[in-house]
Symmetry: C2
């Protein structure tokens, strides 16, 4: 198993300007895995409650996701309810029920400990650190985080940043972490905190990749109709890490291609609720849109 992801499986209730859906399969690990599994097998470590539907684990298994690291604990699965504004630029969290996630203490199965590529989806820095404590010499680890941990667990996060190869952030998080308004300066500031690479996501405005040896800027894939942006960032990470793990190489050229695959995976994600629009996609679909994006960005 060359790719390991540790994150959340959950159910989301999502309100957009035109629709409301209840208990949609979601969570960072779900979106990541549905995107990354288009490139090959991966191992998943997470926790769910006894209400988590068997059919949802089967969905992941059918895509080559090894769910052997998913603990089924007494209690209810993580739930999130959120609402999007008219133009998708504002998202309000209405309710977060951690449920079993509150006692998530990740145990990495032996078969996953030698994974070369590791994605630490958003969780407390303490939980993320426990994952790193259990793996052996990974080649490339990427961290996601959120404003809450930047505010409430800053010291833990700073320590963790010195242990990972890359971090994926949105513009607001990069500004919070560094105090720099200008995104170029913010990205430089984040690099100074430890990681070799920073991936800065700007939603509909694309993404940057910054590193000592590379600076790459990519617009988003032009989606005509966004249905639900939930999980776009984790789908991006799934496409990005899935491609790196498949090729096994981390160099500037491959990282740039990985940015395109991440962008394509995110573009599929936003075209449906939850993972609806990723479920039916094949590697062939992904590659077709990759080629299209390439033609749009090639000078």
């Amino acid at each position: 198993m060359s790719l390991l992801a540790v994150g959340t499986l959950g159910y989301d209730t999502i309100e957009t300007a035109t629709e409301r859906r209840e208990d949609v399969l979601g969570g960072s690990a779900t979106h990541f895995a549905m995107a990354a599994s288009l490139f090959g097998k991966l191992g998943l470590v997470s926790i769910v409650g006894q209400d988590f539907q068997r059919v949802h684990l089967d969905l992941l298994r059918a895509r080559g996701v090894d769910v052997g690291g998913v603990e089924i604990a007494p209690g209810e699965t993580f739930r999130w309810t959120g609402r999007y504004g008219d133009d998708w630029n504002s998202r309000t969290t209405i309710e977060t029920r951690l449920n079993v996630l509150a006692r998530f203490d990740p145990v990495i199965p032996d078969a996953f400990r030698t994974a070369k590529f590791i994605f630490l989806a958003n969780a407390t820095p303490a939980v993320q650190a426990k994952v790193l404590d259990q793996v052996e010499k990974p080649e490339f680890t990427m961290l996601d985080t959120m404003n809450l941990w930047i505010e409430t667990a800053r010291a833990d996060l700073m320590h963790l940043l010195r242990r990972v190869d890359a971090i994926v952030l949105n513009d607001e998080e990069a500004r919070m972490l560094t105090g720099q308004r200008n995104l170029i300066r913010a990205a430089g500031g984040v690099l100074g905190l430890g990681p070799r690479y920073v991936v800065l996501k700007k939603g509909e405005h694309g993404a940057f990749l910054f590193g000592g040896d590379t600076h790459f800027s990519l617009p988003a894939y032009p989606v005509e109709q966004v249905v639900d942006p939930t999980g776009a960032g984790d789908s991006f990470a799934g496409g990005f890490m899935g491609y790196l793990a498949e090729t096994g190489r981390v160099d500037p050229k491959n990282l740039r291609k990985a940015m395109l695959y991440g962008t394509v995976a995110a573009s599929f994600c936003v075209q449906g609720f939850g993972v609806d629009s990723l479920v039916g996609r094949s590697r062939k679909d992904l590659d077709a849109r990759y080629d299209e994006l390439m033609s749009i960005v090639t000078v």
Copy 2:
């Protein structure tokens, strides 16, 4: 003379979060010409008052701009006062004094009438149409406009759109013109109104080029410190049209390169007040930053 620009010469008073400058040389034609003249000679048609400083005409002449079409009329030069918010995303017009511009009735000198490339900077659609009436078989005409004309001179503008090859718009203008919120759809809508190409500017988020035969998306050049964004759009147009006029070819490949040159010219513009940061630049500076931008966007 292969390139002709018709637009405004004026004096701007600009307030940013940190500075205030009075009577800075500005106007659409000034910014356009300072960028386009890095590629070669061009002809300028405009109107100024008797207070317009000789040194400013000399500045343009020194860059190879033929100011033979600039009428010096009794009265005062066009003046604009504006204020930018903290994050540059909001701009408030405090005062606009049209002065001599109110009676601008462009007369195109004979030497300019055979220009193959024509830029119609922001003006009433009626004034812009008068320019087209006086030129002979241009190869490529590009139009700029603003929200005011979309609202108050819509019929004239619609008619004009069927007479030009390209239009350059910002995101807000594209939405107003088409009623489409999604920018991809808005751009498609604008194409349906007549022009072969639409250039959609998104400020710090880059620009799109749409046409029947091409779709190109380009991030902005990463400027660490913006000093004054006034004129960025016209500088973009100057770099874009300057390159096309220099090469004499309008094909998808060349249009994409023109988008990069436009982006580079705009990036220089925002690094100083008015045209301060464009004045000292050479073609060599432009090409160096073009190469840098190319390395940032190449997969």
